[in-house]
């Protein structure tokens, strides 16, 4: 016999997996595009490599925070679930 709490646990775990899996697709694509563009730019203008890679780092961190949000949601579902006692 499944209690409501069992169902909430099951749904939370599955949702946490999906949150990370789906939520990391878009940032991964975005970061890859940013990286290819940056490498292209460095290949064209090696002199500007320093400022390009600095901007790339900061920009990638901004893009990556979207994936981190998904991760935080998954962590909340797994370890600090508001619906479970």
């Amino acid at each position: 016999m499944m209690t409501p709490h069992d169902w909430i646990s099951i749904v939370s775990i599955v949702t946490a997996g999906f949150a990370v899996a789906v939520g990391s697709i878009a940032p991964a694509i975005g970061e890859a595009r940013a990286l290819t563009q940056a490498m292209d730019a460095i290949a064209r203008q090696p002199d500007a490599a320093n400022s390009i890679s600095r901007t790339l780092f900061v920009g990638m961190a901004m893009v990556e925070s979207t994936a981190i949000y998904a991760l935080v949601i998954a962590l909340v579902l797994l370890f600090a679930n508001p619906l479970l006692p």
């Binding site: 400022s51 600095r54 780092f57 900061v58 961190a61 901004m62 990556e64 925070s65 981190i68 949000y69 991760l71 935080v72 962590l75 909340v76 370890f79 600090a80």
Partner: protein, 228 residues
């Protein structure tokens, strides 16, 4: 496995002092001590000065405003976050930056610094950036400021806690030697995240100061026919 809440080390009535408080306090004392003792030794002080000037030049390259007043803030954030991230590699001690409270405090410092330097650069006119380009944008600007601060806190927290959780899972699955490459990756993440936190603070603070610079500098006439 309780990844989200840090251990309480000392219970004072209703107030639980967590590991984070002790470890970050110890790091603060250590950093201040190294700085204070080093400043009294001539050779070390000169090394500090060279390094400080190097950092100052590096920061100045990144922004168009005068970065001199920002150097102490950014350098402190770099040193503290870097040491707080790396102290998690020691056995027993958990990195204080895997506690959301600490990263939220750091993000609030960065948020406050943006406003303090913005007000200092241009007085009450600084508040005008909330209603630019249009008063309708006020709620969006407020949400933008808040989400930027939230993102700063969550980025550092998420990166550190995910490294720790992955390491813990691999240890429990595979044993002693396999987590070592993951820990090496953790060192890289620690350094990059500390760098990024400081750079983002610098960029946000500089953008708060920038408005003033734009207004005080007399507008250069644009050549006719050039796109604006």
């Amino acid at each position: 496995m309780d990844a989200m809440t840090p251990q309480v080390w000392l219970q004072l009535g209703p107030l639980g002092l967590t590991e984070t408080v002790f470890v970050s306090g110890a790091l603060t004392v250590l950093l201040v001590g190294v700085g204070a003792v080093g400043a009294r030794i001539r050779a070390v002080r000169e090394a500090y000065e060279v390094l400080y000037e190097m950092v100052e030049g590096m920061l100045q390259e990144m922004v168009t405003v005068d970065a001199t007043p920002l150097v102490p803030l950014i350098l402190t954030q770099w040193l503290f976050i870097l040491s707080a991230n790396l102290v998690g590699l020691l056995p027993v001690i958990a990195s204080p930056t895997r506690d959301l409270s600490l990263t939220a405090a750091l993000a609030i410092v960065s948020f406050g610094a943006g406003h303090v330097y913005g007000f200092r650069a241009q007085g009450m006119a600084y508040l005008k950036h909330y209603i630019e380009p249009n008063p309708i944008m006020l709620p969006f600007n407020i949400v933008g400021e808040a989400s930027r601060t939230l993102a700063l806190a969550l980025r550092l927290f998420g990166n550190m806690v995910s490294g720790e959780i992955v390491g813990g899972i691999v240890v429990s699955l595979a044993g002693l030697l396999l987590p070592i490459p993951l820990m090496a990756l953790d060192v890289l993440t620690s350094v990059v995240q500390a760098y990024i936190f400081g750079v983002l603070t610098l960029v946000f603070t500089a953008s708060a100061m920038q408005v003033a610079v734009k207004k005080t500098v007399p507008e250069t006439p644009t050549p006719a026919g050039s796109p604006t």
